[in-house]
Symmetry: D2
Subunit: 357 residues, 4 copies
């Protein structure tokens, strides 16, 4: 199975980059939840392309059309289906690469998996465009979480060698959590934005691209959510997050850094803060044994550089089975991690809502 | 749901550290597969405690008792149930910590999740001991994979600041892949073993512990396995791997490193190697778009230091809601990442078999 | 979860009777399967309303709009989404019954389940109209089955007290199996058609309705498909079939009749028919131990009479919590079992394809 | 997948009739539920063989051994594993039928499905003996339901042509519901018992067997439980119930009878009974649109006659591919429907608990 996920909250994503339309079905939402469409538009617009030079010039209105599950803007409890029609597609760009595998892309593996029948225009079902329905579904989940006191936010922690200030995992505030989402560029600091924009522009001008790391946090999660073993918060979130194209690494709390330090450093001392159990540090990232501790949830997701670059690259023609050279034309973000920030928030929101329901 | 996983191959793990027994049910194995019990014993013994000073002195024979699914050592196609009886438990050690939360452990979160009814003796269902049935199931899966030409192996890449030589993701050999598993300590180099043993011993003597990173590879996977979006190889493996206690980070191929380099560096050029499509580098770790490329699969899993340390730590009594001090007694590995090596191999084997079936 | 089903082949159905549209996402179809749209139209038109006096006068073109998963009429392997826009809805009819529970309907139970937020216009998500996307998905599955040598067909075995000739479970032919689907009324015999039409017309004229039994068969299924216990053919099919509104009973092979006869009568003697194992009788309906035997698959599904009848009925106002009287207006089939015939074929086709993949 | 079921409450059943042992893992039980082992023993003993001439003379203590998930008889929230060791097996009886397909059994279909590797001794994983862990799990579920005010009970409604008095679906009492389970033979009336025992004894003496129908009811279910379409109460229960060997038909409420009557007869008029919405009749069997109405749940399950009969039958040797004659030796119930009564209660209890959690 490819594009469906979830037990209590179930999402099914469909569509291909240059097909008629893309969309999602979200089943299991509680009835009686009012959707704030203006807030949803704000959230999804953070992923939308074409805003400035950091992203692909492909412009799409990406206005969702809700077919079901809502009555006067309120969930009925039946599955919500929303579709986005594909406009402004320029399939011509992709004609000449019919069977040239773009390095770093799923062209070759998709060809094998689907025996050559997959729609390769614009990456087809593998396209980053498929994150639009994910962000739409996640945006709905995020509103339901907010109503339950849970706030999810993210920012671009790293872009190449440049680094934003990290979330403080102990005293993270809602304001800090939501800050990057309200800025024109998803960093916490203006200085990071300036340097990251330079990095991206430099990559773009050299017909290249750059990777990045998204840091995501959640506040307000009740302690005691999740299950041991395969039902842990990490398992649930990772099974969703790795569905975002180009995500190649994921860590919770101290993550890979925990391997370098000693137990006495990494263990977070518990203490009573009035009636509440808290920890003085938060290397555990809000999860112990797969279950929330009540401390802020913190995770980081690493994104590879956009594989579509205009430079000439060595590749193969996978039908002709010959070596070849390729310069990827078309319109591509020089740093897909920028627009991945709301994607991470969306996936985390869906996962947390599944765990909370 | 906590302790069950899988669609075509389904595993259900049960048991608590100091209960009567632990075990697993593995459903969906093809019929007619002979199990090599001696090989299985060798594999599971790599996880077994009590071998030397790098692990807990708790000794267990961990001899599995197969109740079903095998007839004269060959799978019947019906579910395989194997149990391990708990012996040599010393629950007394845990008496005094009845409601003191061990920092870095799931005592407090488990208390909340299970409303105080969970068996906390030895960590109960959260105990690292529950990896024994996982390794048993994975050991069976690993044999079925080997029969299909797929080899899975891992080693301890990092232990604190010490580092083993990494797998070469392009020209990884079966010999290299299996090397650490055949050595008394799971590194590729003897020099790394010496230095890591020193690091661990130093931690032990200072009543502390140390973390580590396990690198795992797989050779022989056919290209074209996996699905896009939520059915990708990364999604499937991560949903299992985060079930191993203390695992806090996971990366595939270049992983977090990919965020630091440019697209022109990270993209792996394709070329024809005779009739086979290969890549000259392997930053993608054998997975593109969630689907295997035919190049070696490479992933790394970060483990936090063993949270149980003998040093006095600040904590709370979560029933009395008071601050407290705690020195964890009992028998614990100073570096759980050592014994995590076969756990990672087991989880990866189960995941890959699910994808292959 | 309500409206999604399946493991290898996954279907998600969405929509409400008088909302913007209904549809389905079908994930897991193999790539490279050409869809015969004309054949699909013929199949779905068998369910479409408005053909004659046996069904509701509501007319709908029910022309599906495929958004994804097909390229030039051939499956790509990505999820297929098809939508049907709702036209010709007359919500006014339902205004006055805002909180009067129609006897035999899900108005009251839906009100409770969805806390009053469900869309009750036309039955909302509970409407028989939601079988349109089911039939569409099943029509696709049916074509893939046909390509694999499996034929699925059904007929109206009973309508009230009238009875069509039953399928011969031993020597069922493809011609007999498909016969009812090609006739204007879904019986095998013209005489049954005549008598059933009379029964239905009589019910209609007396402002009443009548129930029926659909018999469904499948030929060409390979022997050895299915699993024991919860993975049996009966389990898989029943979990789908009970999703068809108004279906209240289901039996395989001899079914309820088997309770009345002796083992020596009910056991089907095996014999060799050349190289093929067959049974002389087929009380087992082609399934033994949940697994296909190679004999024709035969099942029967009982449908209750259409609950919407124009006669005055006692009911309650479930908001006001008062007794009330109700005459259901609107347009309704006097015998929904007629149009249920292709619904049963569709559900059986989806279930068998899931089992075969 | 064969032998696992469920989403929130998950059951995995393992074992083969003449293997080392059988058992089940039940995952998802809430923590803090005390198990009444004496009550559990009473319940499982209703399924146990060897009590009198209506069942097989094979005697088994069937004392379950709980390995996990319980601490001092109270659920911990971790998976409960219980095993039953196989004793008193007489595999010799089955030696001569090594490849003779017993008519009405899964010998031949199991041979195909498992490519000849399945354990055929005593029916292996297809044996009715595998209902023992189902009844054990269901017995636990039944206690949890009782604590939530839900009572599940069943009786043998038909045995061949003999008929017990049916449950009154409108005014069913808890006393009537539990009556058959407390009697030595599972009927409501002593007269039915007498006649059914005669029927069974007659079948036994003529080396034959007889089928039966089990009627099951549930009281106390809150209204509003279940989901539309594939998540309905009927879907959930049927996907479990068809896992009971020899079950060939299933109906809810009026079931097949509804096909024969008119809508005005079948529709159940709603009325206010004080503050409670009830229906005057209960042809809907407590389920409307897949969702509970608050009226008693009533279903009937048809069981075929025991296929193992001592009479000589025609069959085939499925390895040699030749015709053959067979008289089934061994010990078999002349009417398996008698012992199926608690099996139905168990499956219904598991399904209802899944729906309630």
């Amino acid at each position: 199975m490819s594009s469906e996920w979830g037990k209590k909250l179930h999402i099914s994503i469909f569509g291909e980059s240059h097909g008629e339309g893309i969309g999602m079905v979200l089943d299991g939402l509680p009835p009686g939840e009012a959707i704030d469409f203006e807030e949803l538009r704000r959230f999804t617009s953070r992923r939308a392309p074409g805003k400035d030079k950091t992203s692909t010039p492909r412009r799409e209105t990406d206005k969702p059309h809700f077919l079901s599950g809502l009555l006067e803007g309120v969930t009925t409890g039946a599955p919500v289906c929303a579709i986005l029609l594909n406009e402004n597609t320029r399939s011509g760009d992709y004609q000449k690469m019919q069977s040239l595998a773009r390095p770093g892309h799923a062209d070759y593996t998709g060809f094998l998996r689907y025996k050559g029948y997959n729609d390769i225009r614009g990456g087809g079902h593998f396209s980053g465009r498929l994150t639009a329905p994910l962000v739409l579904a996640g945006g709905i989940a995020r509103q339901l979480l907010a109503r339950r006191g849970v706030t999810v936010g993210a920012h671009l922690l790293c872009c190449g060698a440049e680094r934003d200030r990290p979330f403080d995992p102990v005293s993270l505030t809602e304001r800090e959590l939501l800050l990057a989402g309200e800025r024109p560029f998803p960093t916490l600091s203006e200085e990071s934005e300036r340097r990251m924009r330079e990095t991206i522009e430099k990559a773009r001008l050299s017909l290249d691209s750059v990777g990045g790391i998204v840091e995501c946090g959640a506040l307000g999660l009740p302690a005691g959510i999740g299950d041991p073993m395969f039902g842990g918060v990490e398992n649930v979130l990772s099974s969703l997050l790795f569905g975002i194209p180009a995500l190649k690494g994921l860590e919770f709390g101290e993550g890979f850094g925990a391997a370098l330090i000693s137990g006495s450093e990494n263990n977070d001392p518990f203490y009573m803060d009035g009636e509440t159990v808290r920890t003085r540090t938060n290397h555990h990232g809000g999860i112990l044994g797969g279950i929330t501790s009540g401390m802020p949830l913190v995770l980081r997701a690493a994104f590879k550089p956009t594989p579509s670059i205009a430079r000439e690259q060595q590749t193969v023609d996978y039908r002709a089975k010959t070596d070849a050279l390729l310069s990827v034309q078309g319109r591509h973000d020089p740093c897909l991690a920028v627009r991945a920030v709301p994607c991470v928030e969306a996936a985390v929101s869906l996962g947390l809502l599944e765990l909370l329901l």
